[in-house]
């Protein structure tokens, strides 16, 4: 645990997360998730699974899926690749903690600050989503996780509750642009 005095900024370069309420939609920046990417080494799939099961309580999710556990979430991001997520407060050095667990069965990479995360909540999100990305929103069910393009930005969308609660991961350096896109679209459909 580090005790250095450097103060972090959110991806929108604020001290505290920005919350936008537009019509029935709330867009909240979520800076509290630590992210580590996991890439299984050749032929070590079973070893990795064995080491992780005690931590996750279940198998790593398959293509296009995410698994939510009490304080950890796992997202399939590619063949043999996952994002593991946990509260920053619990894991300030998440990648190090994970590497300690998976040892040489997988390559682990710090990804916490690679992303900005916006939690988007509302009664009906499909009018918003159909203005910004090419997803068949009605066909998305809880736990679906998919990459998509949002106005030239490669993003990752996780469906927490179908049509009502999603998280949008975008490239951190473009946080302000992505936020502007979401707010603009929300106003457009409000």
């Amino acid at each position: 645990m580090s005790d250095h005095p450097l103060a972090p900024l959110t991806a929108l370069a604020r001290d505290t997360p920005v919350v936008e309420k537009i019509g029935g939609i709330t867009i909240t920046e979520n800076p509290d998730l630590a992210i580590a990417s996991l890439a299984v080494r050749h032929g070590r799939e079973l070893d990795l699974q064995t080491l992780l099961t005690p931590v996750l309580g279940e198998d790593l999710p398959g293509p296009g899926r995410a698994a939510f556990l009490e304080d950890t979430a796992a997202i399939w991001t590619g063949i043999g690749q996952w994002f593991l997520m946990s509260p920053v407060a619990k894991h300030p050095d998440y990648a190090w903690d994970m590497k300690y667990i998976v040892k040489d069965t997988a390559s682990v990479t710090e990804q916490t600050d690679g992303w900005v995360i916006f939690d988007v909540i509302g009664d009906s999100l499909s009018p918003l989503l159909e203005r910004i990305c090419n997803l068949n929103v009605n066909a998305m069910s809880d736990g679906d996780a998919t990459r998509c393009l949002i106005e030239h930005l490669g993003c990752l969308i996780i469906c927490r509750e179908s049509g009502r609660n999603i998280s949008i991961f975008g490239p951190r350096s473009s946080a302000a642009s992505l936020h502007h896109i979401l707010v603009t679209a929300a106003k457009s459909v409000a």
């Binding site: 293509p63 090419n134 490669g154």
Partner: protein
């Protein structure tokens, strides 16, 4: 266009980056005595068929897998899609 990703299902071609003829997987043996000619033919010459074409697409805005897509260049109809890594292994590239 829509590419039916073997793992992720139908995806918009906008998420992909096109490279070209799938023969680019068949990189010649650099130690061969004819390497210079082999690499010239490999890198520069194309069948460029009007019809069925095996080609490489990269799912850059997706799972970052390279795919071998079989597509008709006159109708754009896609008849087959597979992971390039699987294809490459079949070609013995993992040896």
């Amino acid at each position: 266009m829509i590419i039916n990703h073997p793992l992720l299902g139908p995806r918009d071609a906008q998420e992909f980056v096109y490279l070209g003829d799938a023969n680019l997987i068949d990189r010649p043996d650099p130690s061969s005595s004819t390497a210079l000619d082999d690499f010239h033919d490999y890198l520069y010459l194309r069948d460029n068929p009007a019809g069925s074409h095996r080609e490489l697409w990269f799912h850059e805005q997706g799972d970052r897998s390279w795919l071998v897509v079989t597509r008709d260049t006159t109708t754009h109809e896609i008849t087959h899609v597979e992971l390039a890594s699987e294809y490459a292994k079949r070609q013995g590239r993992d040896r």
